[in-house]
Amino acid sequence: MGLPYKRQSGSALLANSDDAAAMLDGAVKRYGSGESAVVALDDVTIAFPAGKFTAVMGPSGSGKSTMMHCAAGLDQLTSGRAFVGSTDLSTLDDRELTKLRRERIGFVFQTFNLVATLTVKENICLPLTLSGRQPSDGMLDQVVSMLSLGDRMHHRPAELSGGQQQRVAVARALVARPQVVFADEPTGNLDTRSGQEILGYLRSAVDKHHQSIVVVTHDPNAAAWADHVVFVVDGRVHDVMDSPSADTVLDVMKGLGR
C-alpha cells in the first residue's frame, strides 16, 4: 500500500478513501466565537487506513486529541465531515452515535478506562453486553490469552496494576472486533516497560487480525510502533511519515519546535 495521503497546502488529501477505517474531510473545529475563538482543527482532511496502525503526534495544544474525538464521534465538527467506514457521522443523532460507538469503535483512554464496580471480564464484555450481544467464546479467549489476562478475569480493577488495567482496556477495545480502535495517550500513565507491552499488543492485533488502530501520543517511542505517523501542528496536518522509528520521529518533532 502506498501513502495514505498527499501533502497539499497544509491539509492532507486521501489517496484511497475506499480503504479507510475512518476519515475526516475538510474538518474544522472551532471553540468559542468572535475574537476569543480557538480553532482546534483547521480544514483537516485525512484518512486512517484499514488494517494499519496509525499514530497521531503533535505538541500540546496542536489539536491531535480533538482530531481523534471528532473522528470517533465523541465531539461534533464545526464544519466538514467525519466518516467511520462509509458512515457519515454528521448524519447520525445521539442514539445512532451511541450505537455506532459500541458496535464499530473501540476506545482506550489514558485514565478512567475501567468501571470500578465491574470485574475484569465484565469490563471487557461491556460494549457487547450494552448492545445485548454475547462475546463469541473464541474471540474472548483469543483476546484474553493474547493479553495474558486469563487468571485475572474475576478480579476488580482496583486489584490490578496500572499496566494490567490498561491491558484490560485494550482487551475491551478489541473484543468486539470494531472497525477501528482509537487510543488516546494509552501509555501516558504507565512506566516504560508496561507502555511498550501495551503497544506490542496493539501491534500484534494489527498484524494478526488486521485490526485498524489510531493512537494519539506525544511519545516518539510509542509512535515508532506504528505503520504511519501523522504530525499535527496548530490544527493542521503538518507531515506524515511511513515506517517510523523513534529517532526519525524525534527528528521531526524537534523540527516542530518541541
Binding site: 474525538h69 465523541l74 483512554f109 485514565t111 478512567f112 468501571v115 465484565e122 461491556l126
Partner: protein, 844 residues
C-alpha cells in the same frame, strides 16, 4: 482575611447548584424547627398570657385537696380530681384576718344548645361557671349586655356567641348535669381580651345556678383578695390552717391553669419536635456530605498551599467562612419561611382534629435564637469536621492522594456498631419482659448503632443486591449496585436520613393502629345492642338522663340501659369509673367476665377490667370528689365498653350516683324487639334527634366510628410522611448529584463505549432505588421494633395489644423508594444530557 472572604464567596457562586441544594436543606430544617417552636409558643403563649391577664386580680385560691392528676397521653383523663370543699368554705375564708374579700367559684359541666343542636365541636371542654360579681376576681369581662342575676339567665363567651350566632335577649337551652334547661342570654363576655378561655367553651351562670343546674353542693374554689397592708405570708399561713382545703398563691394558681390549658398540646409538641429534630439531622447530613466533597476536591490545592507555607488555620479558614456564608443566608431564608409557614404547619396539625387556638403567632426571640444557632452552627460544624481532617493530613500526602473516599470501612467501627445494636435489642427485650420503661433508653442505642454500621450496611447491600440487580437490569444493574459501595460513608449518610424518617413514621403508625384497635376492639367484640346513643364528646357525658326512660316507652323497644361515667382515683391514678345496671347491661354489651359475677355489683361490689382473676375478693378504694367508696372486687371482666376513656372499673349505677351526685348518661344501649326493626329505629331516632347532646348510631355504625378520632391521627402521620419524604428527597438529590460529579470520568467512559443516555439514567435511578429500599426496610424494621417495645411497655391498659399496620408500612416503603427514585430523576437527567466529551476529559 477579606481576601479569604472574597475567595469563599466566589467559590460558592462558582458551584451555585450544589450550594443551592445545601442551602435549601439548611433553610428547610431551620424553617421546620422555627415553625414548630413558634407554633408551640403560640399555643402555649397565647393561652398563658390570656390566663395571666384574666386571673391577675386574684391573690390566692382555696381549693379542694387534690386526689389525682391527669395523665398526658391520649385516652388519659384530662382533668385533675379534687376533694370537694366544705359548702361553708367561702364564709370561713372571708372570716380569716387580712382577707379583704372571698368569692365562690363554681365550675361544672354546661353545654350551650341552640335550636336543638349543641354548639361547638372539637377538643375544648364545655364549662359552666358562676358569674363572679366582683370584677377584680372575675376572669370574664362583659362585652355587651348585663350579668346573669336569676337562675334561667346566662352569659356566654364571645366565641360561643359567634359560633351559634346568638345575641343578648335570645332564648337558648343549656344542658347540665341536672338535664336540659331553658335560658335567656343576658350578655356576651370575653376571657381577658380573648374570645374564650383556652380550650374551654364557657356558659356563665348566676350564683344560684351552682346547685340547681351544675348539681354541686359546694363551690369548686374560693377566690381570695388579701387586704392591702396585711402580711401576705401570714394570711396564706392562716388560710392553710383551714381544714380540708389547699391554698394556692395567685401566681402558682395562674401557672397551674396555664399548664392545664396547654398540657393537651404537649403530646403534640413532642411529636412535632421529634420531627423537627429528624429534619435537622437530615439537613446536617446533606450539609456534611457537600462539604466533605468540597474539601476532598480541594485537598490537593490545600496540600499545595501547605507545602508553600500556609498555616493550617489559613487552609481551614476559607472553608469555614464559606460555610458561615451559606449557613447564614440559608438560615435567614429558613427563619422567614418558617415564620411564614406556621400556618401550613397548623394545617398539618389540624389534620389530627385538634383545634388550635387561633390568634396571632408568637415569635419569641428564643425560638429565633435556637433555630438560628442550630442552622448556622450545624453548617459550620459540618464544614469544619472534614476541613480539619484535610488540614491535618501532611502536605505531600494531600498532594498525592486522590479525592475519592476510601472504600474500606474500619472493622472497629462496624464492630462497635454491632455491639450497640445488640445492646439495643437486649435493652428492648428486657424492657418488654420486665415492663420497665427505663430499659427503652438502652434500646435507643439503635440510632448510634445505625450511624456506625451504616457504611457496612451499604457495602453489604451492594454485594447482596448485585445478583438480583444484574438479573433485573443486566450490566446496568451490576454497575448500580456496585456504585453504592463506591463511597460507603456518603451513601450511608443518605441512608441514615431515610432510615430515621421511615423509622419515625413507622413508630407513629404503630402507635396509631394499636390505639385505634384498643379503642375499637372492645366495641367490635362486645357490643350486642341494636342501637347506641352516644354523647357529644367521649370525655364528657352529655345525654339527658331522662332519655333512656323515654326510649324504653317506645313500642318495639325491648330493653334500654345506660352507662354512666365519672372520674375517680384508684391507687393515686385518675381512672374512668363506669356505673351500670348489672343485670341489664350484660345483655347488651358483653363485658366478658372471667371471674366472679357481675350481679354482685348491686350489693356494692366493684368489677375490674383486666386479665387477672386472682384480684377477686380484694378490697378496692375509689376516691371521688365528695366521697370515697371501699368495696370488694366481685368480678373481673376482660372487656370494657370501648372508645376513649372506657371505664377501667364498674360499679352499680346507683352506687355511683350516691357517691358523686347526679350524672348525665355517657351512652345508652337500646335493644329492639325482633321483627319490627325499621319503624322502631325511626321512632328512637326521632327521640334522640330532639334531645341535644345525644347521637344515635346503629351497632355497625358505632363499631365503625369507635377509634375514628385516631384515624384523624393517621392523617397527621401521612402529612409528616410527606414532609419527611420531601426532606429525604433533597438529601438523595444532593448525594446523587455529588456522586455523579465524582464519577464523571467513569460515566464518560460508559458513554464512550456505547451506553445510551437511558442506560445511564437507569443506573443512577437503580442505585438510589436499592439504597432507598434497603434504608427504608431497615428504618421500618427499627421503627416497628422500637415502637412495639415502647407500646408494649408503656401502653398499659389503654393499649393492651400491639397492632402492626402492615398496609401503612408497605405504603411507607413504597413511598420512600418512589421518593428516592423521583429525587434521583433530576441528577439522572442531568448526567444523561452532559456531552460525552466533557465527561471523558472532565478530570484529565
Amino acid at each position: 482575611m477579606s481576601q479569604m472572604v472574597r475567595s469563599a464567596v466566589r467559590s460558592v457562586l462558582a458551584s451555585r447548584g450544589r450550594f443551592l441544594l445545601t442551602g435549601t436543606a439548611i433553610a428547610l430544617s431551620v424553617a421546620f424547627l422555627v415553625a414548630t417552636l413558634v407554633l408551640s409558643d403560640s399555643m402555649r403563649g397565647r393561652a398563658a398570657s390570656d390566663i395571666a391577664e384574666a386571673l391577675a386580680g386574684t391573690d390566692a385560691v382555696v381549693q379542694g385537696v387534690s386526689l389525682g392528676e391527669p395523665g398526658g397521653g391520649p385516652g388519659d383523663p384530662v382533668r385533675s380530681v379534687r376533694r370537694s370543699l366544705d359548702p361553708d368554705m367561702t364564709e370561713r375564708v372571708a372570716a380569716v384576718d387580712g382577707v379583704e374579700e372571698a368569692a365562690s367559684q363554681w365550675k361544672g359541666f354546661a353545654k350551650l344548645v341552640v335550636d336543638g343542636s349543641p354548639v361547638g365541636t372539637g377538643t375544648a371542654s364545655d364549662v359552666g361557671r358562676n358569674w363572679v360579681a366582683n370584677p377584680e376576681f372575675n376572669p370574664f369581662q362583659l362585652e355587651s349586655g348585663r350579668p346573669p342575676t336569676e337562675v334561667g339567665e346566662v352569659v356566654i363567651d364571645r366565641s360561643l356567641a359567634d359560633d351559634a350566632g346568638v345575641a343578648p335577649g335570645d332564648v337558648v337551652q343549656v344542658l347540665t348535669a341536672t338535664g336540659m334547661h331553658d335560658a335567656t342570654i343576658t350578655g356576651i363576655a370575653t376571657f381577658a381580651s380573648a374570645d374564650a378561655a383556652p380550650l374551654e367553651r364557657t356558659v356563665l351562670l348566676p350564683d344560684g345556678a351552682g346547685s340547681a343546674w351544675l348539681d354541686m353542693a359546694a363551690p369548686t374554689e374560693v377566690l381570695v383578695d388579701i387586704a392591702e397592708g396585711a402580711d401576705r405570708t401570714e394570711v396564706l399561713g392562716q388560710l392553710s390552717a383551714l381544714s380540708d382545703a389547699k391554698v394556692v398563691d395567685g401566681s402558682d394558681y395562674i401557672r397551674t391553669m396555664q399548664n392545664a390549658a396547654t398540657s393537651p398540646l404537649q403530646f403534640l409538641n413532642v411529636f412535632l419536635l421529634a420531627f423537627a429534630v429528624v429534619a435537622v439531622l437530615i439537613g446536617v447530613t446533606i450539609i456534611f456530605n457537600t462539604f466533605t466533597l468540597t474539601v476532598a476536591r480541594r485537598r490537593r490545592e490545600s496540600g499545595l498551599l501547605r507545602a508553600i507555607g500556609a498555616e493550617r488555620r489559613q487552609v481551614l479558614g476559607g472553608v469555614v467562612i464559606e460555610a458561615a456564608f451559606i449557613g447564614t443566608i440559608a438560615t435567614l431564608v429558613g427563619l422567614v419561611c418558617g415564620v411564614a409557614g406556621v400556618g401550613a404547619l397548623r394545617w398539618v396539625v389540624g389534620l389530627t382534629g385538634i383545634s388550635l387556638i387561633t390568634g396571632p403567632s408568637i415569635v419569641s426571640p428564643t425560638s429565633i435564637a435556637i433555630a438560628a444557632t442550630v442552622g448556622i452552627g450545624a453548617t459550620i460544624l459540618s464544614a469544619w469536621i472534614p476541613a480539619r481532617r484535610a488540614a491535618a493530613t501532611s502536605p505531600m500526602e494531600a498532594l498525592r492522594e486522590s479525592a475519592a473516599e476510601p472504600r474500606v470501612v474500619s472493622r472497629a467501627r462496624t464492630a462497635s456498631g454491632l455491639v450497640l445494636a445488640a445492646a439495643a435489642i437486649v435493652g428492648g427485650a428486657v424492657a418488654v419482659v420486665s415492663s420497665n420503661p427505663v430499659w427503652l433508653m438502652l434500646a435507643a442505642a439503635i440510632i448510634p448503632a445505625l450511624v456506625l454500621c451504616g457504611p457496612a450496611i451499604v457495602i453489604a447491600s451492594a454485594r447482596w443486591s448485585s445478583p438480583a440487580a444484574r438479573r433485573a437490569a443486566g450490566v446496568s444493574g451490576s454497575i448500580a449496585a456496585g456504585n453504592l459501595a463506591a463511597s460507603p460513608r456518603r451513601s450511608a449518610s443518605t441512608a441514615l436520613a431515610i432510615m430515621l424518617g421511615t423509622a419515625m413514621v413507622t413508630m407513629f403508625a404503630m402507635f396509631a393502629s394499636s390505639l385505634t384497635s384498643a379503642v375499637g376492639t372492645d366495641v367490635h367484640d362486645g357490643l350486642q345492642a341494636d342501637l347506641v346513643v352516644t354523647s357529644a364528646t367521649p370525655d364528657f357525658s352529655t345525654i339527658d338522663p331522662t332519655l333512656a326512660g323515654r326510649i324504653a316507652e317506645q313500642p318495639d323497644v325491648d330493653a334500654v340501659t345506660a352507662l354512666k361515667k365519672t372520674e375517680g382515683i384508684v391507687e393515686e391514678k385518675a381512672q374512668a369509673i363506669g356505673g351500670i345496671d348489672p343485670t341489664a347491661l350484660p345483655t347488651m354489651f358483653d363485658l366478658d367476665p372471667i371471674a366472679g359475677d357481675l350481679a354482685d355489683l348491686s350489693s356494692g361490689g366493684v368489677a375490674v377490667v383486666g386479665d387477672d382473676p386472682s384480684l377477686l375478693g380484694e378490697t378496692l378504694e375509689i376516691e371521688f370528689e365528695r366521697s370515697t367508696i371501699e368495696a370488694p372486687i366481685v368480678a373481673v371482666v376482660a372487656r370494657s365498653t370501648g372508645g376513649f376513656e372506657a371505664p377501667a372499673y364498674f360499679v352499680d349505677a346507683a352506687t355511683l350516683e350516691a357517691s358523686v351526685g347526679r350524672l348525665l348518661d355517657a351512652q345508652v344501649f337500646v335493644d329492639l324487639a325482633d321483627g319490627a326493626v325499621a319503624d322502631a329505629e325511626e321512632d328512637v331516632s326521632a327521640l334522640v334527634r330532639d334531645t341535644p347532646g345525644s347521637f344515635l348510631a346503629t351497632r355497625e355504625e358505632h363499631v365503625a366510628s369507635s377509634g375514628s378520632e385516631i384515624a384523624k391521627f393517621g392523617n397527621f402521620i401521612d402529612g409528616m410522611l410527606i414532609l419527611a419524604s420531601f426532606i429525604a428527597l433533597l438529601g438523595i438529590a444532593n448525594t446523587t448529584a455529588l456522586a455523579i460529579n465524582e464519577r464523571s470520568g467513569e460515566i464518560g467512559l460508559l458513554r464512550a463505549v456505547g451506553a445510551s443516555r437511558r442506560e445511564l439514567r437507569r443506573i443512577v435511578q437503580l442505585e438510589v432505588a436499592i439504597l432507598s429500599f434497603v434504608a427504608a426496610s431497615i428504618g421500618i424494621a427499627v421503627g416497628a421494633g422500637y415502637g412495639w417495645a415502647m407500646i408494649d411497655v408503656t401502653g398499659g391498659a389503654e393499649i393492651p395489644a400491639v397492632i402492626v399496620p402492615w398496609l401503612r408500612l408497605a405504603v411507607t416503603l413504597i413511598v420512600a423508594v418512589a421518593a428516592g427514585v423521583l429525587a434521583a430523576a433530576w441528577p439522572a437527567f442531568r448526567v444523561s444530557r452532559v456531552p460525552v466529551l466533557k465527561l471523558v476529559s472532565g478530570d484529565s
